[in-house]
Symmetry: C2
Subunit: 115 residues, 2 copies
Amino acid sequence: MKKSDLSVSNLTKNFNEALILSILFLEPKHGYQIALEIEEKSEGLFKFNHGTLYPILHKLEKEGLIKGDWEADSPKRKRKFYAITSIGKKHMKNQYREWENLTNHFFNIIGEVNK
Amino acid sequence: MKKSDLSVSNLTKNFNEALILSILFLEPKHGYQIALEIEEKSEGLFKFNHGTLYPILHKLEKEGLIKGDWEADSPKRKRKFYAITSIGKKHMKNQYREWENLTNHFFNIIGEVNK
DNA sequence: GAAAATATATAGAGCTTCTATATATCTGAG
DNA sequence: CTCAGATATATAGAAGCTCTATATATTTTC
């Protein structure tokens, strides 16, 4: 089971994982679709390299936070749909609180530049 | 000159640099002191490994964002005091706006988990 | 006088992301 | 109908950053 610690040493990793898990909260989606939605919702600010995205999905599945299944309907076009698990939901809700805490402390410090 | 782009691929690096530059906005400080203040102000949440801190300071100095000078008063105890440069201030103010933009978009997406 | 805290520095291991490459299907323009 | 571009997944190797460990030396505290 994944540790819910949001360590500062791998912010990007935790950031990317949080985005993916949040996108899957609504409904199952496949990798390519996840990347597109994150890009759209962030107005082009967050872009996933596919070479980064897929290994993360594999890792999240291995950790039991998401579960992937190859599309049943069309056997030719291979698309793997990922659904967030109950463990994944619990983990992500906890992560949200940790991100809130982290950003609050962060802006408390860097807010100095506006004084 | 340093690019002010806040890329998602190295959030931790940008995060650490922002903390250091913000701490130096008030007055010049030496490395060890910077690490302590960040730890205090974050209530222990952000801790710098010294093996991480010093290389960052060297890099920021090389980029002209900070300027380091060995303490004049006590020649025995070696402490290098870093002051933020005008370029560093400008850079950091820009970074603040970019962090605001990034976190706004981020929480807009991960806020889904609370609905 | 000894231990702990202060203070800086670097080397090497480990992890993550990036770029590049490979493969294959589907869609739309011409 | 053909070809280009978009869709879709995957992995290998390069590059970059942080971590741990180690080294050195001074100052403070007991």
